[in-house]
């Protein structure tokens, strides 16, 4: 390679309290490449990247940027040096307009005054470059996650950065949006920028990236041209062992109908949704982001109300808008947004796991802390949780491990019907396989599973039946046998399926 | 000193040797510290203490309230003072605490403002009688308005202030003698300068024909005078009430206020200490006691009256120091 690297990180070390997030991580980036950063949950990817973004300072190690030492510890300086970041989760300002979100902190000015018209025009122009349209004057509050991600992308584009960091940008996106993002990444590369791309979807990484760096336990274990390696090898690097059988589906015989949803309608969100789930069956709800899948399952569980229709569990109707009633009928919902909806961030692992099963942990009306911790440890073991103890606050866990705590919490209720929204979002391959194995095992034992997923492979690999939603309506039902990627995508994007 | 337990009246103190003990510890609790009026009263108390060789401390809440005074009463009990001289911020809240103080052997005397239950204190030093105050206020406002008369209003302190309410009651009764005056409103400025000024301005808006304002509280009259002196009503609306001459000098001279009154607050503290010291020395004061070379007698409910209110006008105001 004749080009000089634009960014090199050498021997990076970083501790959070007692946790070593990085111990000897390295990364070399060249202009004009898309560089995959891969690793298990908690491997240190986000930590490494947020350091480059100026959020943290390394304990030790060296960062060189364009041949000069990189000034750490200031997000502003990082940006001025030419780094733009799309964070793992979008960080918009709900009360500001989209235009201002794009330019916040560096609004174009004229004679010291914010140039509102200019800002609007430039925003429009940037969106046009992406081939999408969002009203620059609209406030960011209420944007769908995909739209939020688009704003983040435009924000990163607007700085003309030489290094663009994308930390799991596609985790919240469905295939179409992800594809659009990938084309943006390629265009940036062709413009000469270096793009760092984090994803737990290996297929995506292999499709998009030119080179990959693999982190394990905070250290860089491999760096390779994508052409010179294979997914199997990367997985081996990531987990340090061989992984077989990515979707370990255990065959099961569906029993009687457990969940029966009839003509469920909520004005403007979803309409006339009818389906059922049997015991022992895994039913997947597929569709594009924004097609209303989450809203349907939230309504089923009672978080949201619906305008008409009915939900029955077993023989009896489930009262609307009452999650407690759903819980009592052994229905569980693993929500899609783990940080906001699934977890109490400052609380310990034990408290997070126990919160839905307190009734079982009580004696004489008082909660038994010992039993609570023991239960949490049990689940920690079963899900291979990486944590320092049942009393560790979940905010100190990595994204994937947090997701495991959410799973543990809901599995602890011993549900008969498990509704699970994006079960493996942000989870690494190893854990993903564990989650899949557990789901399908439980299903074989008679658990009914209703799964919302934007990951086609997961949907195809796990589900006995696939329901496809588009614009708030169920548009297709496919059996495991007949379903293919193409059929699901066709249904999700609007072509009627004739099969 | 437990034998005077329940000593609710001076008579029960038994006969001492007729002399005030020296070295008495006397606590003074005003309605609120940081108040010029009570500060003036405390100068009188200190003077008395000097004369009789007693030590004298003032303590009390920063905002006037009976319930806040209770903790200070309790502290005085714990510190084993011989006597407590207090101006009750409200007539009822402090009664249980005062009775506890009495049963702990502490002589209680009220000054300036009394409690509702006379048995909760041995004596009360009142500035003057409600009757005299109410009638004087009516006379001053009537003089200020002139013979044609008109509507008047009262701007008082807190709605629950006993003194003011007693005076207002007399004002209302006595207005029968002034058929040309019509009381149209009573408002409360809570002894807060800002609130009083706003209330004064409100009065003038809601009563376009208002001719006079009576403000029987030092804070209220000063605030109202300040408002009037800068408004179109200056000289057109007669203001009178009870005020400290030191605060009212400017308004008296510029014609905002013609006549107002008060008493020397120092005398309240002065006599309060004397009354308390006598009782604490087991001297029977039922027949009166001597202070500063003058003899004071007890009236009904063991009350001692300082004298009629002093009238202030532009002519005499410079000769008063409080």
């Amino acid at each position: 390679m004749v080009v000089d690297p634009i960014l090199t990180v050498r021997d990076a070390h970083k501790h959070f309290g007692g946790v070593a997030a990085l111990r000897g991580a390295g990364l070399t980036l060249y202009p004009g490449e898309i560089h995959g950063l891969l690793g298990e949950n908690g491997a240190g990817k986000s930590t490494l990247l947020t350091t480059v973004a100026g959020v943290h300072r390394l304990d030790s190690g060296e960062i060189m940027f364009a041949g000069r030492p990189f000034e750490q510890g200031s997000t502003r300086r990082a940006r001025e040096q030419g780094v733009a970041v799309i964070y793992q989760e979008p960080a918009l300002f709900p009360d500001l307009t989209i235009a201002e979100n794009v330019f916040v902190g560096r609004q174009p000015t004229r004679r010291g005054r914010v140039d509102w018209a200019g800002m609007r025009a430039r925003t429009r122009e940037l969106f046009a470059r992406l081939g999408v349209y969002l009203d620059p004057d609209r406030r960011a509050a209420g944007l769908s996650i995909a739209d939020q991600q688009l704003v983040e992308i435009v924000k990163a584009l607007s700085t003309d950065a030489t290094v663009i960091v994308m930390d799991e940008p596609t985790a919240a996106l469905s295939a179409t949006e992800a594809a659009r993002l990938q084309s943006v990444a390629r265009r940036l590369r062709d413009r000469g920028a270096a793009v760092v791309f984090v994803s737990h979807r290996l297929d995506e990484a292999f499709e998009l990236c030119d080179r990959v760096t693999v982190l394990r336990d905070g250290a860089t274990v491999a760096e390779a041209e994508i052409a010179a390696t294979s997914p199997a090898e990367v997985v081996r690097w990531m987990v340090g062992r061989e992984l077989t059988d990515l979707f370990p589906k255990v065959p099961s015989v569906p029993g009687e109908v457990l969940l029966d949803v009839a003509a469920l309608t909520r004005q403007g969100v979803f309409e006339d949704v009818t389906f059922s789930v049997r015991r022992g069956e895994i039913v997947a709800l597929a569709g594009l982001v924004g097609s209303g899948r989450s809203e349907v399952v939230r309504a089923v569980f009672g978080i949201d109300r619906y305008d008409s229709g009915s939900v029955r569990v077993g023989d009896a109707p489930l009262p609307p808008g009452d999650p407690r009633a759903a819980l009592a009928r052994r229905v569980a919902l693993v929500p899609e947004d783990r940080r906001a909806q699934g977890l109490f961030m400052p609380a310990s692992v034990a408290r997070n796991v126990s919160v839905v099963v307190l009734d079982r942990l009580r004696r004489f009306g008082l909660v038994r802390p010992g039993a609570e911790r023991a239960m949490a440890r049990g689940w920690g073991e079963r899900l291979r949780l990486r944590y320092s103890g049942a009393d560790q606050p979940v905010e100190r866990l990595s994204g994937g491990n947090q997701q495991k705590v959410v799973l543990a919490k809901w599995l602890a209720t011993e549900p008969e019907l498990l509704v699970i929204d994006e079960p493996t979002r942000g989870i690494d391959v190893g854990t993903k396989a564990e989650v899949h194995r557990m789901l399908s095992q439980r299903a074989a034992e008679g658990l009914a599973v209703l799964m919302v997923s934007s990951e086609l492979l997961e949907v195809l690999g796990m589900a006995d039946r696939i329901l496809v939603m588009r614009e708030g309506r169920l548009v297709a039902e496919l059996s495991r046998e007949e379903a293919t990627q193409e059929l699901v995508m066709l249904a999700a994007t609007g072509q009627e399926v004739s099969a | 000193a437990d034998d005077s337990g329940g000593g609710s009246s001076p008579e029960s103190g038994g006969a001492g040797d007729g002399k005030i003990k020296s070295g008495l510890k006397i606590a003074v609790i005003p309605k609120a510290v940081n108040n010029p009026y009570f500060d003036a009263a405390f100068t009188g108390a200190k003077k008395a203490c000097q004369e009789i060789g007693a030590t004298c401390d003032q303590t009390g809440p920063t905002e006037a309230s009976g319930s806040a005074q209770v903790q200070f009463i309790n502290t005085v009990v714990q510190q084993q003072y011989d006597a407590l001289v207090i101006s009750a911020a409200d007539a009822n809240s402090v009664i249980p605490a005062l009775k506890q103080a009495q049963s702990a052997g502490i002589t209680v005397v009220t000054y300036d403002a009394d409690v509702a239950d006379p048995s909760a204190r041995s004596a009360m030093v009142r500035p003057t009688t409600s009757d005299l105050v109410g009638k004087a206020l009516n006379k001053w406002v009537s003089d200020g308005i002139g013979s044609q008369g008109g509507e008047i209003a009262i701007l008082s302190a807190a709605a629950t202030a006993e003194n003011q309410n007693a005076w207002i009651a007399v004002i209302k009764q006595d207005l029968a003698n002034y058929p040309q005056l019509k009381l149209v409103d009573t408002v409360y400025g809570d002894d807060d300068a800002a609130k009083s000024a706003e209330k004064a301005s409100g009065l003038l808006q809601s009563h376009p024909n208002l001719k006079g304002i009576i403000s029987p509280t030092t804070v209220g009259i000063a605030a109202t005078a300040q408002y009037l002196s800068g408004s179109q009503y200056k000289g057109k609306v007669a203001l009178t009430g009870l005020g400290l001459p030191s605060q009212m000098k400017a308004y008296t001279k510029d014609g905002t206020v013609k006549t107002f009154g008060l008493w020397d607050p120092a005398m309240l503290g002065y006599l309060g200490v004397y009354a308390a010291a006598n009782v604490a020395s087991k001297i029977d004061i039922a027949g009166g006691f001597e202070a500063g070379g003058k003899k004071y007698t007890l009236e009904e409910k063991n009350q001692i009256t300082v004298g009629p209110p002093q009238e202030f006008t532009a002519a005499n105001i410079d000769s008063f120091s409080f």
Partner: protein, 340 residues
């Protein structure tokens, strides 16, 4: 090692130590401080604050606040007086006062939960409204004709002891509310709601209902405090307990409860109320000028947040890794308004 210890030192554990220190130092400085009567006075002085603090702690733990407690207490007191003066038997009047408190709490709770208004704004409004109703009800005529058998309950002590009649109430409350907050399902729910109302909803916790009941409960305890206040001062007055709301909130915050909810302990609050009462009593006995007391109170409140922050900063400094404020690698912990 030191860091490990420091990490476990939270403010709610410091407060009981402060309380003990105050008592010990107080007895050294001032022999009278150790007396039973001092104890009795302190307990009586903090009675109403403590009662309201029990409820306020629960409210603040859920991330809400109730500024109307003092006005509610006063309104309860005024209703009691108003009814009593009209010849209604006193115990029925007391019941009416408690019902008043419940209603006041329900108004707050409904405005917060059903209308989704911020509790700070709502209770600034009801603070004014309830106090206004006090004036409308009693005006310039306080009620003070309560029978001594009742007022003694407020200011008296059990015969031949230094134990005030309110003490058993406070002790029962202290034990009951500690257990409630820390060992029952309801307590866990309260903490969970404070940490994340949204996650609590998804965990099947009836967030709105819990909050509503906590406001109602806060109104009820404020009314209880109002009744105790009435009896202690043998009168009902529209200006009763003025400014108590900030005293109560200051005590709760001083006890280590986070104003954002989700963090805090009941024993911290109980120790805080006792400590502030004991300290004030000691300072007054030491003839510290009353004007200085506000300074000391304010400084203590500041210390309650500054000290933990400094403790937390010590180990961080030592590691020399000074993050510019972002404590977690995940930047969006603040995004709930986007996804509501």
């Amino acid at each position: 090692m030191i860091r490990g210890v420091l990490a476990r030192v939270t403010w709610d554990k410091i407060v009981p130590v402060l309380l003990l220190l105050t008592l010990v130092i107080g007895m050294q400085l001032e022999p009278r401080f150790g007396r039973g009567s001092t104890f009795a006075f302190i307990v009586q002085d903090i009675g109403e604050i403590m009662i309201i603090a029990f409820a306020m702690t629960l409210v603040i733990m859920t991330g809400e606040i109730d500024l109307s407690v003092a006005s509610t207490a006063a309104l309860a007191s005024c209703v009691l007086g108003w009814a009593f003066e009209r010849g209604i038997p006193i115990w029925i009047a007391v019941l009416l006062a408690l019902v008043t408190g419940v209603l006041c709490g329900a108004v707050n709770g409904l405005l917060v939960t059903a209308f989704g208004l911020p509790s700070l704004a709502v209770t600034i409004g009801t603070l004014a409204l309830f106090r206004g109703l006090c004036w409308a009800l009693l005006g310039d005529e306080p009620v003070a004709s309560y029978p001594e058998s009742w007022t003694r309950l407020g200011s008296g002590r059990f015969p031949h002891t230094y134990i005030p009649y309110v003490a058993p109430l406070l002790i029962a409350g202290a034990i009951g509310y500690t257990v409630l907050l820390h060992a029952t399902r309801t307590g866990r729910w309260i903490v969970a709601i404070g940490q994340s109302p949204e996650a609590a909803t998804f965990a099947g916790i009836p967030v709105a209902r819990v909050k509503l009941w906590l406001f109602v409960h806060c109104g009820l305890l404020s009314a209880v405090a109002g009744v105790v206040y009435t009896m202690r001062f043998a009168s009902s007055r529209p200006d009763a307990a003025i400014g108590f709301e900030l005293l109560v909130i200051a005590a709760v915050l001083f006890g280590g409860v986070s104003i954002f909810g989700g963090v805090g302990t009941m024993w911290g609050v109980i120790s805080a109320v006792l400590f502030l009462g004991a300290l004030r009593s000691l300072l007054l006995l030491q003839k510290v000028p009353p004007n200085a007391l506000n300074i000391i109170n304010g400084a203590l409140l500041l210390a309650s947040v500054v000290v933990p922050a400094v403790i937390a900063a010590i180990p961080r400094r030592r590691r020399r890794s000074s993050d510019p404020g972002v404590s977690q690698g995940h930047p969006t912990s603040n995004l709930p308004s986007l996804t509501s």
